[in-house]
Every structure is written in C-alpha cells, then in structure tokens.
Symmetry: none
Subunit: 194 residues, 4 copies
Amino acid sequence: MAKLQKSIDKRNALIKATIELVNNNGFHATPMSKIAKMANVSPATIYLYFENKQDLVNQTYIEVKAEYTDYAFATYKDTMSVEDGFKLIWHRIADFKLKECENAMFLAQCDNTPMIDEPSRLEGIKHLQPLVELWARGKTEGIIKPISDYILYAYSINPLSFLMIIQKRGDFQLDKTHIEEAYQSAWSSIKVCN
Amino acid sequence: MAKLQKSIDKRNALIKATIELVNNNGFHATPMSKIAKMANVSPATIYLYFENKQDLVNQTYIEVKAEYTDYAFATYKDTMSVEDGFKLIWHRIADFKLKECENAMFLAQCDNTPMIDEPSRLEGIKHLQPLVELWARGKTEGIIKPISDYILYAYSINPLSFLMIIQKRGDFQLDKTHIEEAYQSAWSSIKVCN
Amino acid sequence: MAKLQKSIDKRNALIKATIELVNNNGFHATPMSKIAKMANVSPATIYLYFENKQDLVNQTYIEVKAEYTDYAFATYKDTMSVEDGFKLIWHRIADFKLKECENAMFLAQCDNTPMIDEPSRLEGIKHLQPLVELWARGKTEGIIKPISDYILYAYSINPLSFLMIIQKRGDFQLDKTHIEEAYQSAWSSIKVCN
Amino acid sequence: MAKLQKSIDKRNALIKATIELVNNNGFHATPMSKIAKMANVSPATIYLYFENKQDLVNQTYIEVKAEYTDYAFATYKDTMSVEDGFKLIWHRIADFKLKECENAMFLAQCDNTPMIDEPSRLEGIKHLQPLVELWARGKTEGIIKPISDYILYAYSINPLSFLMIIQKRGDFQLDKTHIEEAYQSAWSSIKVCN
DNA sequence: GATGAATGAGGGTTCATTCAT
DNA sequence: TATGAATGAACCCTCATTCAT
C-alpha cells in the first residue's frame, strides 16, 4: 500500500515535471535528466514507469487531456437546454484553461506541434464527444448554425487557447468582464442569428 | 551583382529549408546539417548568413511574418468602410493561411512554442497595426464591440490558424462555402449586435 | 531438504539460462535481468548464488567443462590399448559436441574470447589429464607422434569444435559417415605413420 | 592529396584500434570512446567513417579477412602440383596466423561469436575459393580424401587458429620444428593414405 | 565567400548491482 | 531466502559550431 502509493507519487511527479519543463523549453529541449532531477529520481527510474521519452509525453498528454475534459463536462447534464449547456461547458473550459494554466499550456503545445504521435492524439480527441452531441442537438433545434463542428470549435472553443497563451506570456490579464465578453463572442459566432 | 544574387539565393534557400523542416519535425528535431543539405550548402555556410541556429529561426520568423502581413494588407485602404475593410483583410488572411500553407504553419508553430525569442516575437507583432487601427475606427463608429483587441483577435483572426492546422493534418478540407461560414462566425463574434 | 532442492533448482536454472543467452548473444549482450527472467527469478536473487556476473559465467564454465570431461572419459579405462582408448574418447567427445550442442557451443565461445578469467580457464583445463596420459603412453609405445600435446590436441580434438560451430550455424549437417571420416582424419594426424 | 591521405590514415588508425581493443576485451566491452582515444580522434569522428559500431566491426572484419586471404594465396599458382600447392598455402596461412597475430586473433574471435552480422561473414568466406579448387583437383587426382571441404578445412587449416590462440595466450611457443610437425599432421589428415 | 572534416558537449537509454522490505 | 524498485555510471550516438583550406 505504502509502496504502491510511493510508485504513484513518483509517476505523478514525473508527469508534473514533464509538463512544466516542456511548457518552458519545448519537447526536444527538455532532457530526461532534467525531468528526473525535477521529480527527484534517477534518470533510469523514468524507464520503470515509461517506455521512453515519447511514451512519457504521450501518456502525459492523454492524462492531462482526460483531466481537462473531465473538468469540462463534470457538471453538464444532457437534459439542459442547448444554450445553458453550452454556456456551462464553455465556462468550465475557460476556467480550466485560465486557472490550470500549466496543464492547458501543455495541451496547446502538444496540439500545435508534431510532438505527440497520432494514436495518442486520437485518444485525446474522443473525449470531446458530449460537446459534439450538444451541437448536434442545437443544430436540430435550429439554435446552432448548421456548419461543420470543426468551424464551431475553431470559433467558440479554440480562441480560449489563444487567450490563455497570451495571458501566460504576460501580455494580457483576463478578468471576469473579459471572460464574459469572450463568452458573448463565442456564442455569437455559433448561434443562429434571429 | 551575379555574386550578390547568388548570396541572396542561398539565404532564401536556407530560409525555405528551415520552414519546411521545422514544420515537419519541429525546431529541435531539425539539425543544421539537414537544413544545409536541403539548401544545397555546407553546414559551415549557414554561419556566413546567420549567427547561429536561433538567429536563423528568428530571422525566418520575421521574414515570413512580414510576408504574411504584407499580403494581408496589400489591397486594403483606410478609406474603406469598417465592415468592407475587415472583410477584405480577413479574406486576405484566410487566403494566405490556407494557400501559403507552409508559411502559415511555420508561423503557427512559432507562435505556439517557446521557439522564438521575445524580441523577434515583438518585431513580428507590430506589423498588425493597420488591423488595430481599423478596429479602433470600428469601435468609435459603434460597429465593432468595445472590447480588448486581444479578444477581437482571438475570435476573428486566430481561428483561421486552427482551421489551417487541421486542414494540413488532413482532418478537414475547407471549400469556399466553409470559408464563407467561417467569415460569418468571425464577423458575428466582433460586430456590435443590432 | 525441499528447501535445499529448491535452491539447487534455482542455481541450475540460472546456469542454464546463462548458457542459452550467452550462446545467442554473447557475454556482454546478455543482461543479468534477462538471465533472471529466463530463470524465473528476481535479478537480486542471482546475487545470492553468485558474486557477480563474472562469477556467474566462470562457474557456469567450470560446471559445463566438468560435465564435458566427465562425459568424455566416463567409459574409458586405462587398461585399454592406446588406439582403442583414443577411439573411445574421441567418439565420446564427438558425441558430446554434436549432441549437447548448447553446452559445447558455450565452451567454444568461452575458449575463444576474453570472457572467462584466467583462474577459471586453468581450472577447466586440468580435467583433460586422462587424455594427456593416454598420449604419453602412446608416445612411449611408438604409436602416437612424439610431438607437443598442444599440437596433438589441435589436430585431433579441436577440429570437432569447428565442425560443431558450423553445424550449429546450419552450414553443414554431420551424419555418421562424416563422423567416421572425421575420426580417420583425427587419427591420421596424430598416429605414427607406418 | 594530403587531405585524402589524412583521411585514410584516420580510418586505418580506427581499424587498428578496433582490432587491438576487441582482441583484448571483446566486442561489447570495447567502448567507442576507447577506440577513439586509441586512434587519437574524437568519438564523433568515428561516425564520419563508419555508420555505427556494428559497421565499424564489420568493415574491420572484411578488411582483415581480405588481407589474410591475399597473403595466403599471394604466391600460389594453380599450375602447381596439389601437394606443392597445399604445402605453400598452408605455410602462408601459418605464417600469417603466427606472425600477424593481432589480425588473426581478431578473425578468430569474429568467427567464433555472434559479433559479425551474416552478410559480412559471407563476404569474408568467399575469398577461400582457390583452396577449395585446389582440393577439388586433389580429389580428382586421388591425392586428397574425397570428403567434405568442411572436414578438410577443420583438420588441415582450422587447427592453426587454435595454436595461434594458445601461443597468444602465452601457453605455448611455436618454433620451426613445431610448424613442421603441424604441417605433417595437417597433410596426414587430408591426404589419401597409400 | 565557401567548404567538409572535425569535435566537445550533451542526449536518450541500458545495465550490473544494491537495498528496503 | 527472495524480491522488485531504484540507481549511478557508462554506453552509443547526434549535433551546433568551428577551422584549416
């Protein structure tokens, strides 16, 4: 029990170190030795938990992605109205991206570079299903524009990644009003105009 | 003269090779030797044109960014109406991102990773001035939402980067209709609702 | 008792695994962890039975060498005539080398590389005493050439190692006729010509 | 010219270092760094001349093997009688094995371990053709025993490897008389008895 | 200006061995 | 006795950069 816990702790420490270092330096500029040092283990120990560097990053990605989507949909129920549902999910996502900054940055970097291998990327995508279903419902009800999910995503969800990045970089600080403005823009871009 | 041209050719070949290789492999997985080989030059020759690898990428970034903004604003005139001006600029940007795919991908990768150093990034940003001025005019005229330029950018321009990436990745192919839908979303997200 | 047997079993399993793995990969390409796995033991357990990797291989060598010479001389009696005695021993050796292929290969690899340390090598050699004595008798009786035992060994016994290796490698398959031809060559090379 | 020569010198130094170190320590116990140091180059330089460690050893093997067979057959002419031809080749081989000790040891180690890859081994074998042809002629003329070349080789040529190894190890020193005795044994083992 | 050979520093990974349990 | 987790040292190899030509 104590032993198992220690193992889990080490694995978590490694994942945490990976996120922080990759965020600051990028995948290839992050040596295994530094990850090990930050996680307070020997470099060789990493290989007890992960097959190699690629596997370490893949697993980190999948884990963080799951955390992200779990958070996003935690309080959502498909009995909600389309607008209420979207509002809820959107705000949860915004919350995650702006508060769990490290994790969200990591996901953004993974999604924008050839860092993660294809299987892991696909693994990460399928978690967004509830949002896709909500949109489908919204299209049927004539509330959401009848256009590709990719475009809906690009305009309603993805901008949060950009805002997170510039906030992380220190260029811009989002307060509650900004969030509300952003939500209005997101909703405007996908809702059917009356 | 012929000599100067040969020099320029080499520099261009190096920049082109850098873009292609960094797009496909990322910054750190792109060795100078490969860049040299693809540009048909000796590795040592790179150092006649650039100080080091970081400088090569920085300069490439600045150059491509300039090309991008030049294209974006080439036909824009500040005598246009706000809506016409935005429509024009947006479509030029869309054009560039979806047709000059390699260049746009490179910019996206630079903007989403700690690959470019701060001074070069700032250098790249300032070219967007005309758009910022257009938005300022739009806000005065009550046509554009009175919110931060960062949010305006996040919702009206940045989504194109996302669409470009997934198109490059082969997940989605944008035709003219999609572009029009995207534009409607972009415009909806920043225009003042009547 | 049962406990002692279990210990012996483990030791034997380790020795067997060592032989097989070293045969196929060589000494340095055989990790202790693989030996442990093949013997169904923990890596740490090896160190209960052997001091270190070198000791494991040394002991394996000595053990297999003893098995080899035991087999070679099992039915030999020094009352036999020189020719009968040599014929018997030679065929026993041939038998061992061609049938107990794994063991013989292991010995050959040890004898041809700097894998075994000197003391163990000497330990292994002294078991050939009966053959040396037979030759001494043969020389006295004028049946065996009066030349160095090293040369006698090189021409009458060592060739079997070569034949074993190429058979193991699949280049050549020895049947009964080949064995007889080989024996004739061996005997011709050391007997005094009439 | 001077440059080319320097390249060749380096390559030769690397091959020489490889032979010496592999002889003394075996393939896997010979680090590239030591080879580099002995050849007075940086470890990285090795990779300008060889693809990797395996390639370095393969090429060394092929080169030494060629040297060996070149020497063996240098003065042989197929107009010689079978016995004269064999005597000549045998003595040339003996010469090489006992005087070019380092090279011969290296070949022996390569031939007795899974150190060289299959293609290189085959490359090395084909050089023995003249000896095979001599034996064919000898069989036709009824001078050489009508048995497999593998057995002829095992008894007439291979014993020299054994004698070389024990001489290298310091156990036994061969003088002219020993060589002559060895030759007699070799010839006795393959010639047809009258 | 242009090069290809050369390299030191460092990266990912493996492995013989140890130690707490 | 037996273990599996842990590790430091070392290995092979790569690469940004330099230098003699």
